[in-house]
Protein backbone atom coordinates (compact mmCIF):
# COMPACT_ATOMS: atom_id res chain seq x y z
CA UNK A 1 0.00 0.00 0.00
CA UNK A 2 2.78 2.42 0.91
CA UNK A 3 4.27 2.42 -2.59
CA UNK A 4 1.02 3.30 -4.33
CA UNK A 5 0.63 6.86 -5.53
CA UNK A 6 -2.44 8.94 -4.91
CA UNK A 7 -3.37 8.55 -8.55
CA UNK A 8 -3.55 4.79 -8.15
CA UNK A 9 -6.07 4.81 -5.35
CA UNK A 10 -9.53 3.47 -5.97
CA UNK A 11 -12.71 5.21 -4.83
CA UNK A 12 -13.44 4.98 -1.14
CA UNK A 13 -16.94 4.21 0.09
CA UNK A 14 -18.54 3.68 3.44
CA UNK A 15 -21.55 1.72 4.50
CA UNK A 16 -23.48 1.28 7.70
CA UNK A 17 -25.20 -2.02 8.41
CA UNK A 18 -27.78 -1.76 11.14
CA UNK A 19 -28.92 -4.70 13.24
CA UNK A 20 -32.25 -3.80 14.82
CA UNK A 21 -33.36 -5.01 18.21
CA UNK A 22 -34.12 -8.73 18.06
CA UNK A 23 -32.23 -9.23 14.82
CA UNK A 24 -28.69 -9.44 16.08
CA UNK A 25 -27.59 -12.91 15.08
CA UNK A 26 -23.84 -12.58 14.80
CA UNK A 27 -22.35 -15.84 13.59
CA UNK A 28 -19.12 -14.58 12.04
CA UNK A 29 -20.37 -15.27 8.54
CA UNK A 30 -20.34 -11.57 7.62
CA UNK A 31 -16.82 -11.09 8.91
CA UNK A 32 -15.64 -14.10 6.92
CA UNK A 33 -17.17 -12.72 3.72
CA UNK A 34 -15.63 -9.33 4.37
CA UNK A 35 -12.20 -10.82 4.85
CA UNK A 36 -12.65 -12.86 1.69
CA UNK A 37 -13.26 -9.64 -0.29
CA UNK A 38 -10.24 -8.03 1.32
CA UNK A 39 -7.97 -11.02 0.75
CA UNK A 40 -9.12 -11.34 -2.85
CA UNK A 41 -8.02 -7.76 -3.51
CA UNK A 42 -11.52 -6.62 -4.40
CA UNK A 43 -11.63 -4.10 -1.58
CA UNK A 44 -9.21 -2.80 1.00
CA UNK A 45 -10.75 -2.46 4.42
CA UNK A 46 -9.73 0.95 5.70
CA UNK A 47 -11.79 1.28 8.85
CA UNK A 48 -14.39 -0.44 10.96
CA UNK A 49 -16.37 0.95 13.88
CA UNK A 50 -19.14 -0.62 15.89
CA UNK A 51 -21.87 1.74 17.03
CA UNK A 52 -24.51 1.07 19.65
CA UNK A 53 -27.46 3.38 20.02
CA UNK A 54 -29.34 3.18 23.29
CA UNK A 55 -33.07 3.56 23.67
CA UNK A 56 -32.50 7.13 24.83
CA UNK A 57 -30.57 7.92 21.66
CA UNK A 58 -27.13 8.04 23.21
CA UNK A 59 -24.42 6.47 21.09
CA UNK A 60 -21.41 4.43 22.06
CA UNK A 61 -18.66 3.72 19.57
CA UNK A 62 -16.28 0.82 19.85
CA UNK A 63 -13.15 -0.13 18.02
CA UNK A 64 -12.81 -3.53 16.47
CA UNK A 65 -10.13 -4.19 19.06
CA UNK A 66 -12.70 -3.69 21.82
CA UNK A 67 -14.52 -6.85 20.77
CA UNK A 68 -13.80 -9.88 22.94
CA UNK A 69 -13.29 -12.31 20.08
CA UNK A 70 -11.97 -10.93 16.81
CA UNK A 71 -11.21 -14.19 15.09
CA UNK A 72 -9.91 -13.60 11.59
CA UNK A 73 -10.60 -9.89 11.93
CA UNK A 74 -7.55 -9.73 14.17
CA UNK A 75 -5.14 -9.33 11.27
CA UNK A 76 -7.41 -6.79 9.55
CA UNK A 77 -7.57 -4.73 12.73
CA UNK A 78 -3.83 -4.15 12.64
CA UNK A 79 -4.08 -2.67 9.12
CA UNK A 80 -6.94 -0.23 9.68
CA UNK A 81 -6.22 3.32 8.55
CA UNK A 82 -8.67 4.78 11.09
CA UNK A 83 -10.21 7.00 8.45
CA UNK A 84 -13.16 7.91 10.65
CA UNK A 85 -12.75 10.47 13.41
CA UNK A 86 -14.64 10.82 16.64
CA UNK A 87 -16.46 13.72 14.98
CA UNK A 88 -18.01 11.27 12.53
CA UNK A 89 -19.72 9.11 15.11
CA UNK A 90 -22.75 11.34 15.65
CA UNK A 91 -23.22 11.84 11.91
CA UNK A 92 -23.06 8.12 11.24
CA UNK A 93 -25.37 7.24 14.12
CA UNK A 94 -28.01 9.67 12.90
CA UNK A 95 -29.27 6.94 10.57
CA UNK A 96 -29.63 4.36 13.35
CA UNK A 97 -32.77 3.46 15.25
CA UNK A 98 -32.65 3.44 19.06
CA UNK A 99 -31.64 0.06 20.45
CA UNK A 100 -29.80 -0.98 17.34
CA UNK A 101 -26.21 -1.99 16.75
CA UNK A 102 -24.40 -1.02 13.57
CA UNK A 103 -21.18 -1.85 11.86
CA UNK A 104 -19.53 0.97 9.93
CA UNK A 105 -17.18 -0.03 7.17
CA UNK A 106 -14.89 2.23 5.14
CA UNK A 107 -13.28 0.55 2.18
CA UNK A 108 -11.34 1.28 -0.94
CA UNK A 109 -12.70 -0.23 -4.13
CA UNK A 110 -9.51 -1.82 -5.35
CA UNK A 111 -11.35 -3.41 -8.26
CA UNK A 112 -12.12 0.09 -9.61
CA UNK A 113 -8.67 1.58 -9.12
CA UNK A 114 -7.10 0.67 -12.50
CA UNK A 115 -10.12 1.91 -14.42
CA UNK A 116 -10.35 5.12 -12.38
CA UNK A 117 -6.65 5.71 -12.86
CA UNK A 118 -6.96 5.17 -16.60
CA UNK A 119 -9.83 7.63 -16.76
CA UNK A 120 -7.77 10.23 -14.92
CA UNK A 121 -4.83 9.71 -17.27
CA UNK A 122 -7.24 10.26 -20.17
CA UNK A 123 -8.27 13.58 -18.70
CA UNK A 124 -11.54 12.45 -17.18
CA UNK A 125 -12.82 13.49 -13.81
CA UNK A 126 -15.58 11.98 -11.78
CA UNK A 127 -18.46 14.41 -11.62
CA UNK A 128 -21.11 12.19 -10.08
CA UNK A 129 -21.64 8.72 -8.76
CA UNK A 130 -24.23 6.94 -6.71
CA UNK A 131 -26.26 3.84 -6.19
CA UNK A 132 -29.59 3.08 -7.81
CA UNK A 133 -31.93 1.64 -5.18
CA UNK A 134 -33.42 -1.67 -6.22
CA UNK A 135 -36.80 -0.16 -5.39
CA UNK A 136 -36.27 2.42 -8.13
CA UNK A 137 -35.57 -0.33 -10.67
CA UNK A 138 -38.66 -2.18 -9.52
CA UNK A 139 -40.76 0.94 -9.87
CA UNK A 140 -39.41 1.64 -13.35
CA UNK A 141 -39.97 -1.93 -14.54
CA UNK A 142 -43.44 -1.93 -13.07
CA UNK A 143 -44.25 1.38 -14.76
CA UNK A 144 -43.07 -0.06 -18.07
CA UNK A 145 -45.21 -3.14 -17.56
CA UNK A 146 -48.27 -1.04 -16.78
CA UNK A 147 -47.60 1.16 -19.81
CA UNK A 148 -47.41 -1.90 -22.05
CA UNK A 149 -50.70 -3.21 -20.67
CA UNK A 150 -52.32 0.15 -21.30
CA UNK A 151 -50.88 0.52 -24.80
Amino acid sequence: MEDRSLDELGPVDYLIVEFPVGQQNFTGEGAAELIRLHDAGIIRIMDILILMKDADGSVEARELSDLPELGELQRIEAQLAQTLAEDDVANLAAAMDPGSVAGVLVYENLWAAPFASAMRRAGGQLIANGRIPIQAIIAAVEADALAEVGA
Partner: protein, 68 residues
Protein backbone atom coordinates in the same frame (compact mmCIF):
# COMPACT_ATOMS: atom_id res chain seq x y z
CA UNK B 1 -15.97 3.84 25.92
CA UNK B 2 -14.06 6.71 24.30
CA UNK B 3 -12.28 6.13 21.05
CA UNK B 4 -8.52 6.26 20.91
CA UNK B 5 -6.23 9.18 20.03
CA UNK B 6 -6.14 8.04 16.42
CA UNK B 7 -9.74 9.19 16.12
CA UNK B 8 -9.03 12.84 16.84
CA UNK B 9 -9.08 15.35 14.05
CA UNK B 10 -11.43 16.33 11.32
CA UNK B 11 -14.20 13.94 10.35
CA UNK B 12 -14.81 12.74 6.82
CA UNK B 13 -18.57 12.19 6.81
CA UNK B 14 -19.50 15.86 7.00
CA UNK B 15 -23.21 15.74 7.79
CA UNK B 16 -25.75 13.54 9.54
CA UNK B 17 -26.39 10.40 7.55
CA UNK B 18 -29.93 9.67 6.42
CA UNK B 19 -31.24 6.15 6.57
CA UNK B 20 -31.42 4.56 3.14
CA UNK B 21 -34.37 2.53 1.95
CA UNK B 22 -34.09 -0.99 3.25
CA UNK B 23 -33.42 -3.34 0.35
CA UNK B 24 -35.20 -6.15 2.13
CA UNK B 25 -38.43 -4.26 1.62
CA UNK B 26 -38.19 -5.02 -2.07
CA UNK B 27 -38.57 -8.72 -1.56
CA UNK B 28 -40.94 -8.75 1.38
CA UNK B 29 -44.73 -8.74 0.94
CA UNK B 30 -45.68 -5.42 -0.53
CA UNK B 31 -47.90 -3.69 -3.05
CA UNK B 32 -45.89 -4.69 -6.09
CA UNK B 33 -46.15 -8.46 -6.53
CA UNK B 34 -45.21 -8.41 -10.19
CA UNK B 35 -42.08 -6.35 -9.76
CA UNK B 36 -41.25 -8.23 -6.58
CA UNK B 37 -41.31 -11.49 -8.46
CA UNK B 38 -39.14 -9.92 -11.11
CA UNK B 39 -36.45 -9.00 -8.64
CA UNK B 40 -36.56 -12.34 -6.89
CA UNK B 41 -36.42 -14.05 -10.24
CA UNK B 42 -33.46 -11.99 -11.27
CA UNK B 43 -31.62 -12.92 -8.13
CA UNK B 44 -32.27 -16.64 -8.20
CA UNK B 45 -32.54 -17.92 -11.72
CA UNK B 46 -34.43 -19.74 -12.99
CA UNK B 47 -37.28 -18.01 -11.21
CA UNK B 48 -41.04 -18.32 -11.16
CA UNK B 49 -41.52 -15.28 -13.31
CA UNK B 50 -39.28 -15.52 -16.36
CA UNK B 51 -40.97 -12.72 -18.26
CA UNK B 52 -40.72 -10.24 -15.43
CA UNK B 53 -37.22 -11.49 -14.71
CA UNK B 54 -36.21 -10.78 -18.26
CA UNK B 55 -37.62 -7.30 -17.86
CA UNK B 56 -35.47 -6.57 -14.84
CA UNK B 57 -32.36 -8.14 -16.25
CA UNK B 58 -32.98 -6.37 -19.52
CA UNK B 59 -33.39 -3.07 -17.76
CA UNK B 60 -30.04 -3.54 -16.10
CA UNK B 61 -27.81 -5.11 -18.71
CA UNK B 62 -29.17 -4.23 -22.14
CA UNK B 63 -29.57 -0.89 -23.87
CA UNK B 64 -33.08 -1.66 -25.08
CA UNK B 65 -34.94 -0.06 -22.25
CA UNK B 66 -33.76 3.49 -22.65
CA UNK B 67 -36.69 5.79 -23.34
CA UNK B 68 -35.16 8.98 -24.70
Amino acid sequence: MPLGPGRRGVGVIGAPVAKAAVVGAAISPGPSPVAKAAVVGAAVSPGPSPIAKAAVVGAVVTPGRRRF
